[in-house]
């Protein structure tokens, strides 16, 4: 802060402060709140799919366990661990932005992206195995499956597919904030983009936290 010799000393607003906000704090609060409103719509979006899951599981309890046993819970568990690790690196990236540490931001955003990409690679091999076993809805769907199992696999692909799409979008967001962090955009006064990107990333992690036991672990006992 330079001492102005002008008699009317007005603090220069932060260059990233939008004119419709009073302060950087208010701007950050509005960004966080806005992101949460979006995440609530996402909760409802995935919630509809979970509702469908509950209804059909109630209708076909046996087929649900049989179909779940076809999924590879080891790969699902591995991906759960990968996402949890990506969540801590994301949290550390937000922390680094808050304290204005550019190197830590870059390292943690890069690690988050690598872990996110790892998740998608594992998912690719899981999907590949499902195609080979004719468990994918479509012309080569195994017609001998017990009634209800086809519905399970349809829901499995819609839920994990949309989740994977969110991961791909998340990787795009990571690429953007990595470039911005590289330019040194974020510091202790201005880190809202990293903060809201983190909220999105953690939300996608939470969706998987529910998908993993509900899809993969039903058939793990007694199978």
């Amino acid at each position: 802060m330079s001492n102005s010799t002008s008699p009317v000393s007005v603090a220069k607003p932060h260059p990233k402060l939008q004119s419709h906000f009073f302060s950087m704090d208010q701007q950050l609060e509005a960004s966080t709140l806005g992101m949460w409103v979006f995440l609530v719509t996402e909760v409802m979006f995935f919630g509809g799919l979970f509702m469908a899951y509950i209804v059909y599981r109630h209708m076909y309890p046996h087929a649900w366990v049989e179909a779940s046993a076809e999924l590879n819970w080891k790969l699902g568990g591995l991906n759960t661990g990968v996402l949890i690790c990506s969540s801590i690196t994301m949290a550390l990236a937000v922390r680094a932005a808050m304290i204005g540490n550019r190197t830590q931001q870059l390292i943690n955003i890069a690690l988050t992206s690598i872990l996110g990409a790892t998740f998608l690679v594992v998912k690719f091999f899981e999907y590949k195995a499902k195609f080979e076993h004719h468990l994918v809805p479509g012309p080569h769907f195994d017609p001998s499956l017990e009634q209800g199992m086809q519905i399970f696999f349809s829901l499995y692909f819609v839920m994990t597919g949309i989740h994977a799409l969110h991961m791909v979008i998340g990787l795009g967001i990571m690429a953007y904030i990595f470039i911005q962090a590289w330019k040194g955009t974020y510091n202790a006064e201005y880190f809202a983009p990293v903060e809201v990107s983190g909220l999105y990333w953690h939300f996608v992690d939470i969706v998987w936290i529910f998908l993993f036991p509900l899809l993969y672990l039903l058939g793990a006992h007694g199978a």
């Binding site: 709140l33 609530v40 409802m44 919630g47 979970f50 983190g198 529910f210 006992h221």
Partner: protein
């Protein structure tokens, strides 16, 4: 007005991360045990605990304003309304005969 953002400590992040990994291991272990009807409730309880840890600490809701907290909670409350009303319908359909069916 001081800019008093809460900066999470690395120790807190690591503790939450370890708790999430331990809970993941626990949910995998418990799935290998036959608890009868209790398997899914236990798995859900663990998942809800994990989600709460992520929301409160990693997403920093603990340090957000009351307005943001309210919005965050409202999404999950609305979800419970969806599940409650939805299953209220599906579970009770067979209870009463419907005229004309």
């Amino acid at each position: 007005m001081s800019s008093g953002h809460h900066v999470p400590t690395i120790g807190m992040c690591v503790r939450v991360w370890l708790a999430l990994l331990v809970l993941t291991g626990f949910t995998i272990f418990i799935a290998s045990q036959d608890l009868g009807v209790l398997n899914t409730p236990v798995a859900l309880l663990v998942a809800i605990t994990k989600a709460t840890l992520v929301i409160v600490f990693f997403m920093g809701v603990k340090w957000n304003t009351p307005l943001t907290k309210t919005v965050a909670v409202s999404g999950f409350v609305w979800l419970l309304i969806l599940f409650f009303m939805g299953m209220n319908d599906y579970l009770t359909r067979g209870w009463l005969g419907v005229a004309g069916r």
